[in-house]
Symmetry: C2
Subunit: 340 residues, 2 copies
C-alpha cells in the first residue's frame, strides 16, 4: 500500500487526471489549470473552480475573524477566476459546521461573503449546510465567464518570455509564521497577519491582462512562486530562471525578517497564499505592457526571471550567478524540505 506522502498532492492529481482528461469534447478543459473551461458559444465560456478549506489545515479558528474567513474562502476562488482573466458570476458554499460555532459567528462569516460578493459582482446562489463532527469545513465553488478568445492559460508560456508578478510576495507567508510562532504584535507583523487573513483577488488586473494579446501565460500565486512557476513550466513544457534578488518583498516583511532573523526573499519565493498574478510576456512587448499597466493601475509590475527552453528545469540565480535552492513551495502532501 502506498502512502500519499510518497507521491505528493501533484503526484496524486497526475495519477488520476489522465483517465478524466481523455475523451473530453473539443474546447472543454478539465484538470490542469486554475479553472475548468466550458465553451458556451463564440463569445462566452464558463470558468469553474472550487476550493476546500479545513480548520487546522488551512486556518486556525482563533487566529482569524469570521468576517475575514468568509472573505478569504471566497477570495481564493475569485483569484482562480482572475488567473485566467475571467469575470466572477456566482458562488456556491458548502459548509460543515461543528457544534462549537455559534450562530452569531456564522452571521459574521456570511457578512464577509456577502460583502465580497457585492464588491465583485458575484451572485451567491446557494450550496449545502451540514453538521461537522468537530472541525469547520468550508468549500466554495465559483463560476465565472470570459470571452473564450481572451482566456489566459498556464500552458502557453514561451522561451524568451519575461516572468512578471504584479505585487510583492511573502507577506502572507510571513503573517502565517507570525501566527504559528505566536510572535507579539507590532505595526509590521500586524500588517503581515492582515495580508495573510485578508488577501485580495486581482480580478480587474486579471481581466486587463487577459485583454493583452502579448501576455502569453498566467497563473495566480497561491502555492508560492517556486511552486507555481513549476505549474507553468510543466504545462508549457519550458524551463525557467528566477533571479532571487528580484523577488519583490514589502518593507514590512523586511522589517519583520530583520527582527526575527528570517530570510525575506526565501519567504517570498516559497510561501503561498499571496494571490497576486504571475504572467509571462515576450521581451519585446514587456515595456509596452508595463507602461500601460502602471498607467491603468498605478502599481508596478515586477520582473523576476525568464522562461527558457531548458524543459521543466528551474534555475535560481543571485545577481546573475546560478545558486542551489532546496527550499520548496507548499505541496500539501510533502514535508517542507522534501524534494518534489
Amino acid at each position: 500500500m502506498t502512502n500519499l506522502s510518497e507521491i505528493g498532492e501533484f503526484g496524486l492529481i497526475e495519477r488520476f487526471s489522465q483517465q478524466f482528461i481523455k475523451d473530453l469534447p473539443e474546447g472543454i478543459t478539465g484538470i490542469g489549470d486554475d479553472c475548468a473551461i466550458i465553451p458556451l458559444n463564440h463569445e462566452k465560456a464558463l470558468l469553474v473552480t472550487t476550493d476546500m478549506l479545513i480548520e487546522d489545515r488551512h486556518f486556525l479558528l482563533n487566529k482569524i475573524t469570521p468576517h475575514n474567513l468568509g472573505q478569504k474562502s471566497l477570495m481564493v476562488n475569485l483569484s482562480d477566476i482572475a488567473a485566467m482573466g475571467g469575470d466572477p458570476h456566482s458562488a456556491y458554499l458548502s459548509i460543515g459546521i461543528p457544534a462549537k460555532l455559534k450562530v452569531e459567528w456564522l452571521d459574521k462569516f456570511f457578512l464577509g461573503i456577502k460583502e465580497l460578493c457585492l464588491n465583485t459582482g458575484t451572485y451567491f446562489l446557494g450550496g449545502d449546510t451540514t453538521k461537522s463532527p468537530d472541525r469547520l469545513v468550508i468549500n466554495i465553488g465559483v463560476i465565472g465567464t470570459i470571452n473564450p478568445l481572451k482566456i489566459k492559460k498556464r500552458s502557453t508560456a514561451l522561451p524568451g518570455d519575461i516572468i512578471c508578478i504584479n505585487d510583492t510576495v511573502g507577506d502572507s507567508g510571513g503573517g502565517l509564521k507570525i501566527l504559528i510562532d505566536e510572535k507579539p504584535p507590532d505595526k509590521y507583523s500586524s500588517f503581515l497577519v492582515q495580508r495573510h487573513n485578508c488577501p485580495r483577488a486581482h480580478i480587474e488586473e486579471g481581466k486587463w491582462l487577459a485583454h493583452r494579446e502579448t501576455v502569453n501565460a498566467m497563473i495566480d500565486v497561491s502555492d508560492g512562486i517556486e511552486s507555481d512557476i513549476h505549474r507553468i513550466m510543466e504545462s508549457s513544457a519550458v524551463g525557467a530562471e528566477i533571479e532571487i534578488s528580484k523577488i519583490p518583498v514589502s518593507k514590512e516583511l523586511i522589517k519583520v525578517c530583520e527582527k526575527y532573523n528570517w530570510n525575506a526573499r526565501e519567504i517570498g519565493l516559497t510561501s503561498g497564499e499571496d494571490y497576486c498574478l504571475m504572467f509571462t510576456v515576450p521581451e519585446e512587448y514587456f515595456n509596452d505592457i508595463e507602461s500601460e499597466y502602471v498607467k491603468e493601475f498605478k502599481t508596478p509590475i515586477y520582473t523576476i526571471g525568464k522562461i527558457n527552453d531548458n524543459q521543466e528545469n528551474l534555475t535560481f540565480t543571485q545577481n546573475g550567478e546560478i545558486i542551489e535552492f532546496t527550499e520548496h513551495g507548499f505541496d500539501h502532501f510533502k514535508s517542507k524540505n522534501e524534494k518534489v
Copy 2:
C-alpha cells in the same frame, strides 16, 4: 450567543438566505430549490448543485467501499439535477484526504466516480485536492443543463395535486440502522445496506417527468418524505396530507423490520437518502402520467397523499383517519425527536 441546535439547519438557511436572494437578476434562482438556476438563453439554462460529505457524519469509512463512496458522493448531486429534470454536464470534486488513506483506496474511489461519470454522460472537470487533519471530507459540485421551460421546482405544487413517488422508500434508512446497530448480515439486511451505500439518481425519470407539463412540482427524497414534503409545502405555500398505509416499502425492508421489531413505514417516512423522486400531479392528469410512466420505465408510481390549501400544515392519516406523528425527518442540526 445562540447554538445552532436552537435554530436547526433550515433555520440557519432561512436566517442568511434572504440577504442573498434579493437583488438577483430576473430568471436567476439561488437558494431554495435542489439546484440554482442560471438562464443562458431561451433554450438553455444551467443547474448548479453542491453537496458535502464528512466522515463520521455522512459515512463511516469502514462501512462503505471506496468505490461505493465515490459513486454515492457524485450520485447525491446527480439526484439534485434529476429533481429539477436536468441533464448532468460536469462534476467538480474537492477532497480533504487524511494521512490514513492509502493511494490504492483513492484509486478505487476515483474509479467509482469515473464509472458513474461514464454511465451518466457527466464530464469530470477537476476540483481541489488537499490534506485533512483526520477525517475524509468530500465535496462534489455538479453543473447540469435544461430547457428553462421544462424546469420543475418545489414551489409550484397546487392544492388538489396528488403526491407521487417513483420508488419504495426506507431501504436506505433501514440499511443505515443495520450498519449503526451492527446487525449480522443476511440476505435482506445486505440488500438494504447496498441500497444505502449505492443509491441511484433517477436522471432519466426526472427528465421524462420534466417534459410532462401536467407535473406541477418535483423534489428528490434526500432527507426523507416527511422532511422533503415540508420543502414543497413551504416553497409552494400549501399544505399536504399523507396516508401512512400508502408509503411504499420493499419486501426486504418489511422482512428486516419484522426481524428487529422496527416500523417499516416509519422508516420509510422519516429516514433519508432514498433519492427517488417525489412529484405532484393534478388528480385529473394522474392516470395519463401513470400509464405513460409505467409504459416507459416498467416500474410503478406510488401515490402517497394529496396537496391541500391548509398552508404549511402536514397531516398524516392511517386508513383515512387523522393520526399524530411525532417522528421527524432528518434535520442535521436537530436531535431526532425534537419538533421542527
